[in-house]
């Protein structure tokens, strides 16, 4: 691209514990449409990584194909990225994670990339509880191919082409909970205050962490009819919790009185605080989470926040007992049985 990114840096930018300023976490200049929700999410990821004091080169950015899947080029320039093929990011992320369990795997996908062509792999990466962040930039349409409805487009909403979507939409968050995902959150690309702590929490979760982020496509899905447009989402949003990331460990409480404050301690000791809004809300209770999502859906509302989390969880590596040393760091001596073993084997085959 002919774009050249301005290299001017504000001198007085604050540094994080690693001594990096936030611009160290940025990516190349976005080529998405001006005002695209996806860019807001990229910015939130940059901020979250800076706040979490993450070494960018210890992060691998995985994506499929789509406007959303282009974003790994637009954040964390010092991280490796793999912009793979349409709908197959989960399998590529699974292989990468198996090869090196020491990196953080940040998967970015779109609703087309996940809910249509990628549905099979989405379901199975959840089932394997792969330790990764899986973030869907959900705009209810196929942006890059010019605005066709995706499977998350709500029935009755109008696509830019003007045709009305007939099919029941797939609720990715609800589906993720049904399938046993151990961290399921939902947010909105325009709401940094909620999104950044959620991304941080997801990156701290020791298993599969799913975030469904409503991210309006300003070009193709922002007409009044659409339920993914800025206006619609703003009107119908209902926050389950105010978030505030507290980096000091706290004891985990399973039940708590309404109106009070709930601190969920995550596996790495970091804490997310939830302010309970609804009467019978318990983010540790899978069934009530499912019902809450179902009800909000019936009311045509989008429930945002941390819908469900199971802090103690067993990821794929623990299930299949892979060595603590990353597999990609093992050498001949660790891996090759050598000629003596082979001689014995030959003998057994005569």
């Amino acid at each position: 691209m002919t774009y050249v990114k301005s290299t001017f840096r504000h001198p007085g930018l604050p540094k994080n514990e690693l001594g990096y300023t936030v611009d160290y976490y940025e990516g190349s200049l976005s080529t998405l449409c001006a005002g695209c929700g996806h860019d807001g999410i990229s910015a939130a990821i940059v901020q979250a990584c800076w706040e979490l004091n993450i070494e960018p080169h210890k992060v691998a950015k995985m994506s499929g194909i789509g406007c959303s899947s282009k974003t790994p080029a637009y954040f964390l320039n010092n991280s490796h990225g793999f912009n793979s093929v349409h709908g197959r990011m989960p399998s590529v992320a699974t292989g990468a994670n198996l090869a090196n369990r020491d990196l953080i795997y940040f998967g970015v996908s779109g609703d087309g990339d996940t809910a249509s062509i990628g549905m099979g792999q989405f379901v199975h990466v959840i089932r394997r509880n792969l330790n990764m962040v899986y973030l869907v930039m959900n705009n209810g349409c196929y942006g890059l191919t010019k605005g066709q409805d995706s499977a998350t487009a709500d029935a009755g909403s109008k696509s830019k082409a003007g045709s009305v979507n007939l099919f029941e939409s797939i609720d990715l968050a609800s589906l993720a909970i049904e399938l046993g995902a151990t961290f399921v959150a939902q947010s909105f690309s325009g709401d940094k205050g909620q999104l950044i702590p959620l991304v941080k929490a997801a990156m701290s979760h020791p298993g599969f962490a799913f975030i469904n982020v409503i991210s309006p496509c300003v070009t193709f899905n922002n007409n009044p009819g659409s339920t993914k447009s800025y206006d619609y989402v703003r009107e119908h949003m209902e926050t389950t919790a105010l978030m505030d990331f507290v980096p000091i460990a706290r004891e985990i409480k399973a039940n708590y009185e309404e109106g009070s404050r709930e601190n969920l301690t995550l596996h790495d000791g970091s804490v997310i605080s939830l302010r309970k809004l609804e009467k019978d809300w318990d983010p540790l209770d899978r069934i009530s989470a499912m019902n809450a999502v179902q009800k909000s859906r019936i009311n045509g509302e989008i429930l945002t926040g941390l819908l469900y989390v199971h802090p103690e969880t067993t990821d794929l590596h623990e299930m299949i007992k892979t060595s603590d040393r990353p597999l990609n760091s093992l050498s001949e001596s660790d891996l090759c049985p050598g000629s003596d073993a082979l001689a014995k084997l030959n003998a057994s085959l005569r």
Binding site: E55, V92, G95, R350
Partner: protein, 632 residues
Amino acid sequence: MAINDFVVRFANVNGTGSASANALFTKAVFRMGVPVTPKNIFPSNIQGLPTWYEVRVSEKGHLGRREGIDLIVAVNPQSMKKDYADVHAGGYFLYDSSKPLPPGYVREDITHIGIPLMALCNAEYTDARQRQLFKNIVYIGALSALLDIEFAVLENQIAEQFKGKEKLIEPNIKALNIGVKYVRENFDCPLDIRVERRDLLGDKILFSGNSACGLGAIYAGATVAAWYPITPSTSVVDAFAKYAAKYRVDPETGKNNYAIVQAEDELAAIGMVMGANWNGARSFTATSGPGLSLMNEFLGLGYFAEVPTVLIDVQRTGPSTGMPTRTQQSDILLAAYASHGDTKHPLLFPASPKECFEMTADAFDLSERLQTPVIVMTDLDLGMNDHVTEPLAWDDSRRYDRGKVLTSEQLDAIASGSMNGNGRRTSSPGLPGRDGSDETAGEPLQQFRGKFGRYLDIDDDGIPYRTIAGTNATRGAFVTRGSSRDEYGTYTEDGDAYRRNVDRLAKKWATAAELVPQPHFYQEANAAKDGVIFFGTSIFSAEEAIGMLSEEGIHLDAMRPRGFPFSKRFRDFVSAHDRIFVIEQNRDAQFRSLIMIELGVDASKLVSVLNYDGTPITADFIYRKIKGNLAR
């Protein structure tokens, strides 16, 4: 009188435990030092359908399938009629005479050997399951007497087989004896076809290609296997799992130095394999035709994004579902050019379990050296049958060739290279050579001119330098993508940048031609005006047929290609002969197509010999075809 030269066919019902009994027979002949080759001909079903097991015994060491049955053990009523007809004149028909044969089994030209298997077992055993299972052992015992197989050899096998479950040894030995006793009393043993002890096998072993592939992956240091079950490739990963459990569990921690994932389908399997290889772990998958078709999109990504990938294709009879339990060499054209756009993939063609072991190991070195998918083209015949093969060997001094992967130090050196301007720094770390040594002592680093470029052709061999995630905090990061990019990995739609990139890939292809396993030539120097080319499992029957022809004074130069793309030596062989017979096990002469496409030779000199009915090709068939053509 045929000593060590006959074919026995066992006709059984699928799922009645005949497989292990029949294997006893093969192993016994093997242990008597006589070349032997068994072929399973089984249905795509789990229980109740006909299944056959053909064993060829050949003093001369001919290990291909041979037409014409000398003795048949016909214990399956479903297929009895056909089995009866298949016995050639002068042969033997062994059946269960507990019930009389149905009318019509009245051939004069064969000998009928009736053994009341069911009756004998019912008399001896009470439990239904035992009655069923021991029937098989009884006919093995009978065969040992009829064919003069040393009883002690069988006894040892039984002893080994039931080590740990000793109390099972005795009843099995008894079953053998029942068979021996009955035939000794009722027929004059041995028959005029029989086995005589020899020492023709030296230190050879009896092993299957799929087991050898799985073991090869272990020795090559593969740590991640992702797969989806499909006949006949399933046993490759089963073998990998078995050997991994044996050799790859850390004694202290008890944790696994490997990971195996049964994927949700083949697209996911190869996606996982690419993700793992991209991230620096050796990874592979095994599949068969339908899976290969599903992997097309990812194979194109691997070619264009230059991600190492090892794929083992155990070919079966296509197209589509075809005949899942029959053999063929018919995925060649698809494998060579899999995926849309201009794509090409190196192929390896093993012809024995030993080569399955070696080539699987080589495939990992090649795919990391070339940064591209490499496909091992084996087949059901090689993979699922036991074959007499040379013992497996491994050179402990061998180092894995991880290819051009830059270390953190090298990335820093590249950067500093520009800062201090000068192009010579003895201190600079070298780049990894083929044997993993620092062969290329540092200079190439300077050619980056201070900036790492993922797709720069530093060494003029078309192979760029890669970096692995997490290597260096500030250097070497880039986004791998299936879309067009410039030398520095930046997305571009510029036509010149695109052309430079795909021209480099073409150059890499030329480099590959000399790196893949070279052809095996059967002569010091070309001596004949006509030649013959064969590969993979056609080797057994092709060698036999060439022998038959030369006995008649018809001499052919022979070449067995082992890798694709084709090297100069391959090209020379083709141009050195007026006419070349190309032996393949598919309908459309797919290998011949590769020769034409890649070498642009005059097709009229390439004469095809094609067997494609799902059964392994025979020497007689090849002999007839070549003879017939030469006659013209």
